[in-house]
């Protein structure tokens, strides 16, 4: 049955990888449990293998699994690369999202490490084979193999909104695990598609995007309650989350001050 969409998008028909159950043949053996509300990731490390995880994400590990805290820079980075990583880390610290540091877990004799994100949501697995995936800040959970992480600027207008100012680009060969607030839905885009910035987890493929108000000029920006949206054009896949941290904060704010 051909369910090709009218507006150039479709909910991805292939079952999202890594939603549940043990991993299939390729990639690092891992399991994602307790999704979508409270997903936890277990990665089984072969001797000598390394998994890089967001600082603070560890739940448990076997005693034989070593942990080393590192500045978030690619392994090949020289001195300049380290300085750049440090500057980026400070910027990221300021805009929120991921932290300065990542933890490198390695197991000389093999072992498991369990990881969980801070927010209540899903963990999604994506095997990268030379391609790239762009993630919203805060969406990165872990990676293994030869995956490089680089910060991308979201555009001047995004600066004025708290969300979407920076993106993290993961590129290379290996496994990538990213996380969300709420469930994750993959949407195949062919043409154009609009996503609320607060619900954007990431995207991949030949997509260009433009950040703007949801519509209707200034009124649309301030009164619609939708804030900024991301308009994607081209062909690729967009990952959205079913909850939005901004809305949670809006709901909490009056309760805290009282």
């Amino acid at each position: 049955m051909d369910v090709q969409p009218q507006q150039g998008h479709a909910l991805a028909t292939a079952p999202p990888q890594g939603i549940a159950g043990p991993a299939s043949g390729s990639g690092t053996p891992h399991e994602i449990t307790h999704g979508p509300a409270f997903a936890m990731l277990r990665v089984d490390l072969a001797p000598g293998q390394v998994v890089v995880a967001e600082a603070g994400a560890m739940v448990a590990r076997h005693q034989g699994v070593g942990m080393e805290v590192k500045l978030n820079a690619s392994r090949s980075a020289g001195f300049f690369g380290l300085v750049q990583a440090f500057v980026i880390a400070i910027i990221r610290r300021l805009v929120g999202g991921e932290t300065f540091f990542v933890n490198h877990f390695s197991a000389p004799r093999g072992g498991s490490v369990w990881l969980a994100p801070a927010m209540s949501g899903q963990v999604f697995h994506r095997r990268l084979q030379g391609g790239a995936i762009t993630l919203s800040t805060g969406a990165f959970l872990a990676s293994s193999g030869d995956v490089d992480l680089a910060l991308k600027f979201g555009g001047l207008r995004a600066i004025f909104a708290r969300e979407g100012a920076f993106f993290l680009e993961a590129r290379g060969h290996g496994d990538l695990w990213f996380t969300s607030y709420g469930g994750i839905e993959a949407i195949d885009v062919n043409g154009s598609y609009i996503v609320d910035n607060g619900h954007l987890v990431g995207f991949e493929g030949a997509l260009t995007f433009d950040i703007h108000a949801a519509g209707g000029g200034a009124m649309g920006l301030f009164a619609s309650g939708e804030g900024l949206v991301c308009e994607f054009k081209g062909q690729g896949r967009v990952y959205i989350q079913s909850r939005n941290q901004g809305s949670l904060l809006q709901w909490l704010r009056p309760l805290v001050g009282a």
Binding site: T33, H34, A37, F38, A39, M40, A55, G56, A57, M58, V59, A60, R61, H62, Q63, G64, V65, M67, E68, V69, G96, T99, F100, F101, N103, W114, A116, A118, M119, S120, Q245, L248, L249, L252, R253, V256, G257
Partner: protein
């Protein structure tokens, strides 16, 4: 007594069926609903044990629910969104992270213990609870997020913020997670619990403090 956990894992609700005369002891504030023939009695078990409980991160008072004349039903919930588990009491008993306790059979003795001096700096693991019993009984524990039972066979390292309960057969020691204190701090992992021996450990898939940090840093200061 039979405990049935509904709405798992995110919004777990415990349905407790009591036979005539049977009772369950629950953490104060855990009650959701009960049949009219269930009588609630509040007790601190003495000022000292009440105070000790407060130090342990629990409430001063505990409530005992007893079914009078016929079967009764009590519904209990945890303060945080997450799963609950029913643990059958064992001769050795269990250790609990202090906020994990929801309810227990009346014969189960819940004692507050010092969890380890180092825990003082993190706010986690200062005190732990020890559940022991002479007779069979059940223990209802709750966590933030999903609950995962891990089997420790030798050694396991668990982040203290994710710890819910463990078999008292295990040796444990609270310590730093990395090689040095600075590395431990930078890694964001804070304190971990090093377990040794054989036994089961229940972990919660979310860390309440981490969650609070992720959300709370963006909230206005409290007045």
């Amino acid at each position: 007594m039979q405990i049935n956990v509904l709405h798992r894992p995110a919004q777990a609700l415990a349905q407790v069926w009591l036979q005539p005369g049977e009772a369950i002891v629950a953490e104060s504030g855990a009650l959701v609903g009960m049949t009219p023939n269930v009588q609630m009695q509040t007790q601190s078990g003495g000022v000292m044990s009440g105070l000790k409980r407060m130090f342990g991160g629990e409430s001063f008072f505990r409530n005992t629910f007893t079914a009078q004349q016929g079967n009764g039903e009590v519904l209990l919930a945890h303060a945080l969104p997450g799963d609950m588990a029913v643990l059958e009491m064992t001769p050795e008993g269990y250790f609990l992270q202090s906020s994990a306790f929801i309810a227990s059979s009346p014969g189960v003795n819940i004692d507050t213990k010092l969890g380890g001096f180092r825990g003082f700096f993190s706010g986690a693991g200062v005190f732990v609870l020890k559940a022991t019993t002479q007779s069979p009984g059940q223990l209802l524990v709750g966590g933030f997020g999903g609950l995962q039972e891990l089997v420790c066979d030798g050694n396991l390292v668990i982040d203290t913020g994710h710890l819910v309960a463990w078999d008292a057969t295990l040796q444990y020691q609270v310590g730093k997670s990395g090689a040095g204190w600075i590395a431990s701090f930078l890694s964001g992992e804070g304190l971990v619990c090093h377990f040794q021996g054989r036994g089961r450990i229940w972990v919660q898939t979310r860390n309440p403090v981490e969650y609070g940090r992720a959300v709370g840093s963006q909230l206005p200061p409290r007045e």
